[in-house]
């Protein structure tokens, strides 16, 4: 009986092509738009978040400033400078620190490769710098390591734009470059990364070498700045406080003097981003739910109209002997067929669109669209349930219609 029913339903659906197509299209389009909308939202979120973390996650950049409070017999306005041993000093004094690195910087240093000549910023750092500052070496290359440090190797890790300028499109790893007339071997190139926060310029235009090598050549007394990250990023503010206290002790300034030791704490930015993205996610969720509801109402409306329109048909069927159950089953199976075909087609079309958009290389604007299976499945389940529920009411009503009333339309 069920099988005959299904055959009869499929036959009726195919006979009423226009109505079936319109309903199908409504459900299909609803599914496609909800999936696309949510996928876009997630991609934009991911791509923004990636760009914003280009400089590194949860790090503190510490500079030496001028005191603004007179303290311990010193007048205010005293310029502080970090010495070479300050990174090690802080590492020993502040157990909350996970990684720390000094950073020496020189600007507009002449760099030569063959006939090409260009000025770049050079930096000297510890190997710990790599992880904190998100310096990802291209495959087949590496960042500065401890052996480079111990042996004061003349090696450099360069930005991808430096490579492009000095070596063109050829691979620079293992090749030599002259910096201030001194030859260095390129050991690594940073992968192209999105970075929208920086100090000392973007990493893609910078050159990095071991501090030991740098000090052997330039012999600086002072460190430009320090970069540190807490063992546990949730304790960043405690770490900052401990760093200020340790430095205040060493350089004799008031621990409450915020100008003596300016610190850029990117976790503050992350917190702002976190708030922003929570808002964004809520927005996406609301938009998604609203779209689903609008789609659901549309579908419910179509289902209602279909049953209304077909009351006389229901009456005829009842008059020639269809039981209530038969009518109900017929409408429910019809709804089920329409909703499942519609949602599945919508899902496939959304996949196709996502594929096309990714092919069109719009990643700079919207990021790479990834179809989240949870979203897809949830959307399909929600839309088909709405359709089903929307069909249930009118179907139930249709089956209980008085045949005499129904037959007269």
């Amino acid at each position: 009986m069920i099988f005959k029913n299904i055959r009869m339903i499929l036959r009726e659906l195919s006979k009423q092509k226009l109505r079936t197509m319109l309903t199908l299209f409504g459900i299909f389009w609803g599914t496609t738009s909800v999936i696309l909308l949510l996928t876009f939202g997630i991609a934009v979120k991911a791509s923004t978040s990636k760009t914003m973390h280009g400089m590194g996650e949860a790090i503190c950049v510490i500079w030496s400033g001028k005191t603004s409070i007179s303290y311990g017999g010193f007048p205010k306005g005293r310029q502080l400078s970090f010495y070479n041993d300050d990174a090690q000093y802080l590492k020993d004094q502040v157990p909350l620190i996970g990684e720390i690195s000094p950073q020496y910087s020189r600007y507009d240093i002449a760099v030569n490769v063959g006939d090409k000549k260009q000025n770049f910023t050079i930096n000297a750092v510890w190997p710990e710098f790599q992880d904190m500052r998100n310096m990802v070496p291209r495959e087949g290359s590496r960042f500065i390591n401890n052996l480079d440090m111990e042996n004061r190797r003349r090696v450099v890790f360069i930005g991808n734009e430096v490579e492009k300028t000095m070596f063109g499109d050829t691979n620079s790893v293992g090749k030599m470059m002259l910096i201030d007339g001194i030859p260095y071997k390129v050991i690594g190139v940073i992968i192209a990364k999105e970075q929208d926060g920086s100090y000392n310029g973007r990493d893609k235009y910078a050159i990095f070498m071991p501090t030991t090598t740098y000090l052997g050549i330039y012999g600086d007394r002072y460190v430009n700045n320090l970069v540190a990250r807490a063992k546990n990023v949730n304790q960043t503010s405690q770490m900052k406080k401990a760093i200020v206290e340790a430095m205040a002790k060493k350089y004799r300034f008031a621990p409450e003097d915020t100008q003596a030791l300016p610190i850029w704490d990117t976790t503050e930015y992350d917190q702002f981003l976190g708030t922003f993205f929570t808002g964004f996610t809520i927005f996406l969720g609301v938009v998604g739910v609203m779209t689903l509801i609008v789609g659901g109402i549309g579908i419910a409306n179509i289902m209602y109209v279909i049953v209304e329109e077909r009351t006389s048909e229901i009456g005829i069927k009842r008059a020639i002997g269809a039981k209530k159950r038969v009518i109900l089953t017929q409408y429910l199976i019809e709804t089920f067929v329409i909703s499942s075909v519609g949602t599945i087609a919508g899902f496939l079309f959304a996949r196709l669109l996502i594929f096309g958009i990714n092919k069109a290389h719009l990643d700079d604007f919207v990021g790479v669209l990834i179809l989240n299976p949870t979203i897809a499945i949830l959307t399909i389940i929600i839309i088909s349930s709405i359709t089903f529920i929307a069909g249930w009411g009118p179907a139930k009503r249709a089956s209980t219609l008085d045949p005499v009333v129904a037959i007269n339309g």
């Binding site: 009869m8 036959r11 006979k15 048909e313 009456g315 069927k317 020639i320 002997g321 039981k323 008085d402």
Partner: protein, 220 residues
């Protein structure tokens, strides 16, 4: 076969109560051709709906084949309509998107008849009403007389005990109307029980067994 006693039907349309049938007694025997004549609004359609188990009387007893329909649930009534009664309506009431064949096949589907038997029955009944060359036409491709033949074929396909026809010629021209009337007469002569409702007094020409109904009561 049909035994009605004291049938009363009241419709509640808002505040006004309309008494469509009052104390109707009616007996129809197997093989009868009964014509119910009456002006519109006389209650003859209500009578037919009750006879056809589409509606239940407000009070009174109606026994079909000795079974009182008062005690039957909806499923049993649906089965009765499916197997015992064949309806023919004034406005044909065919499913517009289904072909002649599919319209006639429908009661067999609801009765759960298997495919092979359905095909045999539908084909032979369409032959009988002279529509075997219109099997795959849709109702809008047929003339009024042809549509009514489809409806009659649909009413006959499950071999019912009673054929109930509500103004079957009401929407037809004289020529087709006469043909349809002739078809009913032929069916009656084959032994079918037919109850026909009409407001056309000429229907008397075809049968001598008729009752007149006015204001919900049968005039002798």
């Amino acid at each position: 076969m049909i035994k009605m006693e004291n049938i009363r039907k009241v419709y509640n349309t808002g505040k006004v109560e309309v008494e469509a049938l009052r104390n109707v007694d009616l007996h129809v025997k197997r093989g009868d051709f009964l014509t119910v004549i009456g002006p519109s609004g006389s209650g003859k359609s209500t009578l037919m709906n009750i006879m056809g188990c589409l509606d239940k009387p407000t009070s009174g007893n109606y026994a079909l084949n000795g079974l009182n329909i008062k005690d039957m649930d909806d499923n049993t009534l649906s089965e009765l309509r499916n197997k015992e009664i064949g309806f023919v309506f004034q406005n044909f009431n065919l499913l517009p998107y289904a072909s002649t064949y599919e319209n006639v096949e429908m009661p067999l589907l609801f009765a759960g008849v298997s495919g092979k038997i359905r095909r045999e029955k539908v084909t032979s009944i369409l032959n009988k009403v002279g529509l075997s060359d219109r099997m795959h036409h849709r109702p809008n491709e047929l003339s009024g007389g042809q549509k009514q033949r489809v409806a009659i074929a649909r009413a006959l396909v499950n071999s019912p005990n009673i054929i109930l026809a509500d103004e079957p010629t009401g929407n037809l021209d004289t020529q087709s109307g006469a043909e349809i009337m002739q078809l009913f007469v032929d069916l009656w002569k084959e032994g079918n029980t037919i109850i026909m409702i009409t407001h056309d007094p000429r229907a008397k020409e075809y049968t001598d067994n008729f009752i007149t109904i006015t204001d919900g009561t049968i005039q002798a």
